[in-house]
Symmetry: C2
Subunit: 389 residues, 2 copies
């Protein structure tokens, strides 16, 4: 076997791209920090039960497992960082009021989760705990948009959803859990024929209006006019009315920051928790969302402390592919002479100013290879000067 | 089971320490970059054969394994990044001359490898390929010392060794591989009684001088006088003479930068490769080395391209524990009003200047909890001003 071959969907990141990732990593992290989000670093490995607090079978399949040699128990390699942050909020910090946390780190997936996706992501994100109002939703959404913009993503298409619409329909009728799960599955898969079958076959559980409403959900996708349509066509439950009002307010606040804003009332991400607004940001040349987020209240419940929670995350590796960063600055080539104090002082000075100075080691002097440098250090009238190559 | 409990030797890093790690991560990485080391990011996961190119059984035991669901083959979670960088030099970059690379990333160990050690390290390091002379050894050693100093480690104790001493003794006699392995094991474990037994029992393979020399190695630990002693007591093979000369030169170059400099001629790290000088840096209050490195020529051989190589690495998590960083800067508390343009402009301005501004969300206003802020934003004569709390 040729041992330099990597597994599929696993890759090395070479200098130009690695530097671009580092640059946007710092820009985003700095933004999160000045907005009061405190950095935490949860581990790569935890017991499986800790990483899948909600019994999410999808997450379970996506997660690599290893045996802990110290306890004999099963550990997982995190496939997402969000629940780890909820654990930290619930158990380690235990503040009474609002807690803002941010993170950046690798996550691994057993199989790639979308088009062109890698199995190793570099996830960065922010979470806000302890506040249930729309102000915190807006803070998180605006922060996500800022992070995309400072990374160089200018054309943002924002999709907004609200899980309370589907939940309102479920709660409005006496729908058994099995049927709820099936409806949920069909909606998530945008499988309209199964959805229709389920609704038609469930006459005894729901009235005509609800039947129509469930079948309508996948079509409720589009610009602001969707909200008017939804108000007209969906049953007038308080839960649904409030959800549509919230979406309207968010749209008014954010529409000037994005290229286009769409509503998707069949987006049910995070339905396993009690949730509110969910959102996803897209840009040109990428079939996948570049950032995802939403309100996942009670995500900390499994850790003994249910709190309101909203947050977002993105993959720095995916993000860096979409950005043309004028990244690698050109370097200065310097001769090697460990006893020349003036030379070494000049090199140190240039480096302190942020210049890249590459010292040419003896064996390779006078070679044509200039190691990617566009300038060099030469002695002129007894003074070391930088000149173009 | 209480699902918020972490496995042993696995931990969360909370805000104060996380920020300290981020600060030294950037300082070190910036230093490596301006010295011409290009950042690369190898993956967390690779096929086992790629991660253990040299058949190192110790490394094999230390590495978590998982099955690749896409190929059915065994993958490992990297327990060290060095060999990955060698693979990148050998296969992806393939420059003819000197290549300088740096990296930072998580590594995982099945069991903790030393006193107080975690099983998850944040490894940062630099490697220099394609140059075999002492200049590159010195460049790497000086760079390591600089990285420690800019991280805030002031008292550095440097240990230097040279594998050519042991190798010279082995090559000077016709010693079979099995005995070489046993001698190597006894020396690494500093197990002098086994070492003595082996030497006494191996009369037919080695002369009296070599016997004495092998038994002497564990005692050749101490300051510069050790080199004089070694020259006197070890056989005068060219390989050993050159090794002692190199150690002398390095000592002269580095002694002004460290608190103390020691030689350890029984340090055989990386003996599996053809190697030269190895080194380890220690500081107060830590039983473990804070940085390790050395010349591991031919580390890329298993990937089809044997090149001279020297480098160093350290664990940012261990490092941050030893440093008292005046880390978390105090924040400014600001009221929430999304329609007040002047207020929001002021907040943005402060954040652009690097201040942390925490917005107080409605429900929590007028509470005593000031979220770790020492100043607040108030309206005075129609102007938003920062005042102490």
């Amino acid at each position: 076997m040729r041992n330099w071959i990597l597994p599929e969907y696993i890759e090395d990141i070479l200098p130009a791209e690695a530097l671009a990732i580092e640059v946007i990593r710092r820009r985003i992290l700095d933004r999160l920090l000045v907005c009061g989000y405190q950095l935490v670093m949860p581990p790569m490995l935890e017991f499986v039960e800790s990483l899948i607090p909600s019994n999410d079978s999808n997450m379970n399949l996506r997660m690599f497992k290893v045996i802990d040699q110290l306890s004999g128990k099963m550990m997982g390699l995190r496939a997402d960082i969000t629940s780890q942050i909820a654990r930290i909020d619930a158990h380690l910090l235990n503040h009474a009021g609002v807690t803002r946390l941010c993170y950046v780190g690798s996550v691994l997936h057993t199989t790639p989760s979308g088009l062109n996706r890698t199995r190793e992501l570099l996830q960065i994100g922010a979470e806000l705990y302890g506040h249930a109002g729309l102000e915190s939703d807006l803070e998180i959404q605006k922060l996500m948009l800022q992070c995309l913009i400072i990374s160089g993503i200018n054309e943002i298409y924002l999709d907004l959803g609200h899980v309370a619409v589907f939940r309102g329909l479920i709660n409005g009728e006496k729908i058994p859990v099995e049927l709820e799960t099936e409806l949920f599955g069909a909606l998530q898969a945008k499988d309209t024929s199964t959805l229709k079958e389920l609704c038609v076959g469930a006459k005894k559980y729901m009235g005509k209006v609800s039947q129509q409403a469930f079948m309508l959900l996948p079509e409720l996708y589009g610009d602001r006019r969707i909200l008017i349509q939804a108000r007209k066509l969906l049953p007038d439950y308080p839960e649904i009315r409030m959800a549509l009002d919230e979406l309207g307010t968010v749209a008014t606040e954010l529409e000037s920051s994005v290229r286009a804003l769409n509503f998707d009332l069949a987006d049910l991400r995070g339905y396993h928790y009690h949730t509110g607004i969910v959102f996803a940001a897209y840009t040109n040349n990428s079939p996948n969302a570049v950032a995802l987020g939403g309100r996942y209240d009670e995500i900390g419940k499994a850790f003994g402390r249910a709190r309101p929670a909203t947050g977002f995350s993105m993959d720095l590796r995916e993000l860096s592919r979409l950005i043309k960063l004028d990244s690698r600055p050109k370097a200065i080539l310097a001769p090697y002479n460990r006893n020349n104090k003036n030379l070494n002082k000049k090199i140190e000075h240039l480096r302190t100013e942020g210049e890249i100075v590459v010292v040419e080691l003896s064996k390779y002097q006078n070679k044509k290879n200039t190691l990617g440098c566009n300038r060099k250090l030469v002695l002129k009238n007894k003074i070391w000067e930088v000149i173009d190559i």
